[in-house]
Symmetry: C2
Subunit: 194 residues, 2 copies
């Protein structure tokens, strides 16, 4: 998605350790008009897929999911990071490893909000090692819902997440795929996609 790639080049900052800071428009400050274009692009790619619900994970997936949901005219469900040792039976659970904070955490979704009849689009801002998406898929598997695919704003194509999720037979549409970044001169190379 050209508009997005241009914005990443303009406002993204490459930091040591393959970190890409996009907090001026994506995951701290949010450019809602860009999100509208992102939402329309997800609709273009998934319009024929009978999606009836969008699933995401707190926190930075929520904005993208809500704006996009307007174009699909469907509700959003966001998985919550479990902060309690609550052993409630009324949730589905998944495990996510945070490489940023170097720890595992549990995510939960209320059983009432994922049904076997649901056809889901899973959205998130980043796909790198794929751990968040794997945690969400673990939750979905328990519910019996089906997954039309995943929609990602920025995929780090040089990390293994995308290949791992696609190898499971899950469709993954990433609006920008970064093949390499260089923090010394700030260059970002995007994969050429359709």
């Amino acid at each position: 998605m050209q508009l997005l790639e241009e914005r990443i080049r303009k406002d993204g900052v490459v930091r040591e350790g393959n970190v890409l800071k996009v907090d001026s428009f994506l995951n701290h400050q949010i450019d809602v008009s860009l999100f509208q274009e992102i939402g329309r692009e997800f609709l273009r790619r998934y319009d024929a897929c009978s999606i009836n619900k969008i699933l995401t994970i707190e926190a930075s997936g929520i904005g993208i999911a809500c704006i996009t949901a307007q174009y699909f005219q469907v509700p959003v469900v966001f998985a919550k990071k479990n902060k309690t040792s609550n052993l409630s039976a009324d949730v589905y659970r998944g495990r996510v490893h945070s490489f940023t904070h170097n720890r595992d955490y549990e995510i939960v979704v209320g059983r009432d909000f994922l049904l076997p009849s649901d056809r889901l689009l899973i959205l998130d801002d980043f796909l790198a090692n794929g751990s968040a998406l794997e945690g969400l898929l673990e939750v979905v598997d328990q519910s019996g819902a089906s997954v039309a695919g995943a929609g990602i704003v920025i995929e780090k194509g040089f990390q293994e997440g995308g290949a791992k999720i696609r190898a499971r037979g899950i469709r993954v549409e990433s609006l920008a795929i970064i093949d390499s970044m260089d923090e010394k001169n700030g260059t970002i190379c995007f994969r050429t996609t359709s």
Copy 2:
């Protein structure tokens, strides 16, 4: 806001300890079409206030903020819950007490994203004891930005937060104010507002 009060009566569940569960449409599953009406109502109330940015706090404020921001045509900034002991000088900090989890946590906003010239609308899903709003105001005070007011979806009028924030001279617009709830028979009494 009548549509919202009707929805709370229909789908809200009153639990022991003055807990109101609205996770089927507000803060776990999200009814985006309801959020659009909420956004339009915030615009109606704050349209003449020269707002140039919406400030909220992760996680459940983000959806309301993003949908509402479309009507104001302004960006969103969300305060992050600080998970690291990062002593970075490039953030403003505030303290929030969570009564649900009975602990304090720090919230941070990057200095680049709150400017003295900003005229803010602060949005959140709930106002009860007012701690989240106080933490956000602490952040805003450091930045020198000004606050046009706060927009709240559901205020628990029987808790002290609303009175406390209004006593500071801050305009607070709550779309539904609950004066009392009864978990035995499930009744919810709303304050009559303009």
